[in-house]
Symmetry: D2
Subunit: 326 residues, 4 copies
């Protein structure tokens, strides 16, 4: 079993800690968090110890570090870990600043570094991706990505998130690259504040419709809103020369209720912890594969940079109301 | 164009009159009904004349008679019409008495007589029937027929209907024969009064689950209730050696509403006039084919008698609580 | 009954002629077409006479004219008819030239003139429109319109169609205005030739993704392709503050086939004659209402001009690769 | 954490061992199996030890025993465990002989004994059960249970299974009792050999349609086949006075493929290990609750006996072709 440490004992840290603990190839040894209480609780739940980052990194048995701390610490933690020779599984983004990440390119390029874009590991999107490549609907032409949050985050989060494109659409930009297998060359984004005017006062938009063009002339459409009113709407449609592949939403149960008013199913699963529960498990499997040496990281810091570059272009597109090259 | 007359200007008569009038191969010439007002109104709507049955039958131009009068007159009207040498499209049943119908067997056997089991002409059931015969799911083994009315008829109707099996399940018995392509040899029926105890006081049941066996050992299940609470539930599932073919309900629109409470579609179409609107049109097409001489009637008085015989067996099964041979 | 004439005995003319003939409030008296054979055949099918436009217009009993001739004759025919004091139901577009139509504005403004954007009469879209206005999903924010043809038209048609936006997207532009209840102020269109490179050689595109902005800041997305590979994909999703209303595709039957390979339903209905059969019937009902005087035309020549203006803006957007004001 | 042992290291034993190991409230200490190799492998996978039943039972720290050994050993193992004062989670059936189980009634009645009818813990069926009791579709009237296996077991299994009713339908009989909340008073079963005539030679049937009546006059229909041809079909429909609640099948992904041939989704999940994966997890949760003392066992040996009694009645019904009292 590969010994791993987790940095960050918050919501997403707890998910990764649990998945690491449940993975038969991994042993979660250390939990690192500035809050002793949070670290202690999470460590206790999984028979791990609390530690400081430095002490953990100094353990030669430690093979892998999972970076799930607050966003502004990802870069520092990840750098320390790769420099200590550890394999790293880092939550996205490495840093909100493209420049900062780029300046560390060499360190990440040489390392066993895996950036956690979780949606690539969702079984539905993965099946779509695989079947698309198997030619089931012919040559890919265009893609639609629907990515609607159930409800807006608190305004305090808006202030630090970097805005809709950097915080939320970043996932969809990565999906666009992954599904098409191409780089994005141009972005046109229409952004509005239709959900809550307070969000505009905090300098952000809450609704966006985005058109991306790829190197080969394929077109990707992305739809975002901070508030769907009906749950977490996460769908992808891929249109090919012979048909359409679509990954529909997941629902909590398969129960239908038929009454005089109509036939009702469950809404889409509420939010990402439920919707992407399997994706997080599969991510950890991939990290175990990396530690085994049976797989290279399939998502690198460059993928993170490219998604961020599209975000910046989208932001510029809204500001100047024109298509912007990436 | 073939000249036709309609006997009966009630609800189902109006449907058939309209479909005859709209059929480019038919000309509706006469409307016959004891109520001069009803006959006059329906005739006016379709540029036809009112008439008595005798006067209409004496018109040598008249080729076909559509019998849609009250059930207790079907036999007399149909007999007169076939004896006058007219082709007949008769609503089911010819008569509630099997004996009476049997005693006229010769007259119907020699005639161009078509019994209107409308469901055989529903495009969904027809597609299932055709694909089943094309071997899409291998050899047929068993069939489920769900046939639930939206709401019970008035108690006054219960009194004259002949009861659930003769009035409602009769359609399902015919579907069982049509889908399997076999005769039914045994019936077990569980009947209860679960919807409205008043129905029991009027000597009927309102809920039934029925198991039929065919000559070849196939099994058909039928579910009936007088009140679904969610519309007119009309489904058929056919299970074969390689899979399942199912005809699902029809809905008024394809609109879905997704809100916090879930995802809702329209309920099944409310009742038979809507659900089987196309079936009635297709029935009339078949009658036009018969008048053209391009088709033999696909449903004969014998099919009516056989469905009635299953009804009687079902009734006996409930009374004696045991399987009954047909 | 209101006496009407149809100009044009081609494919869409035949549809309208049949619906007029079947409408109990209309009497189809005249069929007008340069081809005596086509006119004669259609007239015979509906007990009508062939005529010239002038002779038909000179009949004082004639109340309404249905213009379903070739596109380049719409304007002339419609003008003659309105000048003769007839009510007019005109297929879209009145003319491919916005200028020509504008120059006749006065004539159309004073007339009982109804422009046939058939999709507004589709029962599914109509139900979505009605339920949206009833507030079922709160305040409307954004709309997605998927409008994919099953297969490209012949290249000869591409040459005369005016191109994708004027020929195909024009319907979607009208839907955008109708669903939002607002005028469009800006268009960004990404257009590519992904289906067949020959189409590019004929000066057209075959794939488009379009973002529209309304006066109030709502956003509409339109997706077009000339070839879906899976039938005629006609869907609308409306996103509101409380949820989502979606009109899904129609299918020929409700039959499902479950086999080892999965669970399969019918593809979307193949093309517009099937998909919008009910819309054409409902359009004719509206024309009968107009002739009755019980309704004003709900779609005017101005609606036609506005949809055309959006088409022109979309074309300019593709050419200059930037958003264009309407 | 409660210390538990598992008896049986086969397929279902491995499932329960894993779920026990993953449950934060349980510690899997012992794996017991006649095959040292199987026991050793399973123990190693979960940091447990191999043991004999007697040595494990003699450990005073051991609180719970999971009985997942071969069916013919359930009774002996379970009896030993309850006599040793351990809580027991026993796979169904306790024994194929109703008499044998009945003769041990006292031992089980006094014990903390939980019989594992896994389907009661399926989230879909559980949601249906809960919503039914909340009155969502009014008063329950009838229930349909579709329970079709993907493919028949080997003939060697047919010989020892006790036959379709005892081996397969037993689950559906328990569901019938659980969904209705009532005891079954009468059974009519139609059983045939339609899938493979070899099964008949081995004395069994492979297809059954069964009608159950409850004390209160409710009716339950069960459909069984050993081979669906399209996966593991596990559906329940509950019909109430105000509507219908249905638990539909689960599918591996939500991906749809739309091509010229139609729109295809995944088939139902293949078999019970996949379909009921969550049910097995939830069962183990319930066992943990029992060990905590926070819950009484919700399924007792009496539930097992009652389901078995219905099986026997069904068998008699097929033999004598008549309804049989339970």
């Amino acid at each position: 079993m590969h010994v791993v440490a987790i940095v960050g004992a918050g919501r997403i840290g707890a998910i990764h800690a649990r998945n690491a603990a449940l993975n038969p190839r991994l042993r979660l040894a250390y939990v690192i968090d500035p809050s002793a209480e949070a670290a202690g609780k999470l460590a206790a739940a999984h028979d791990a110890e609390t530690a400081t980052l430095d002490s953990a990194l100094s353990d030669p048995a430690l093979k892998g570090v999972i970076v799930a701390s607050s966003t502004d610490t990802h870069l520092e933690v990840a750098l320390k870990a790769v420099k200590a020779g550890k394999s790293v599984f880092c939550e996205k983004p490495i840093d909100l600043s493209i420049e900062k990440v780029s300046s560390c390119a060499e360190a990440f390029a040489d390392a066993n570094f895996f950036l956690g874009f979780n949606r690539r590991f969702d079984p539905n999107f993965r099946a779509l991706w695989t079947r698309l490549r198997a030619g089931e609907v012919g040559a890919l032409e265009t893609v639609h990505i629907i990515s609607h949050d159930p409800a807006p985050p608190p305004l305090s989060y808006i202030d630090v998130s970097g805005g809709l494109f950097r915080d939320m659409t970043i996932h969809d930009f990565d999906m666009a690259r992954w599904i098409t297998g191409e780089d994005i060359v141009e972005v046109y984004a229409a952004g509005e504040c239709l959900v809550d005017k307070e969000i505009a006062k905090h300098g952000d938009i809450d609704t966006a419709k985005i058109i991306l063009k790829t190197e080969m002339g394929r077109i990707v459409f992305i739809s975002n809103t901070r508030r769907s009113g009906y749950g977490y709407d996460q769908r992808i449609e891929a249109f090919g020369s012979k048909g359409r592949l679509a990954a529909e939403n997941m629902r909590e149960t398969t129960v239908e209720s038929w009454t005089g008013g109509g036939c009702q199913t469950n809404p889409p699963m509420h939010f990402f912890l439920e919707r992407y529960a399997n994706a997080y498990v599969n991510e950890m499997e991939h990290f175990a594969d990396i530690l085994d040496g049976s797989a290279e990281p399939t998502i690198s810091y460059i993928d993170g940079l490219k998604a961020q570059a599209i975000s910046e272009a989208a932001l510029a597109s809204v500001r100047h109301n024109k298509p912007v090259s990436v």
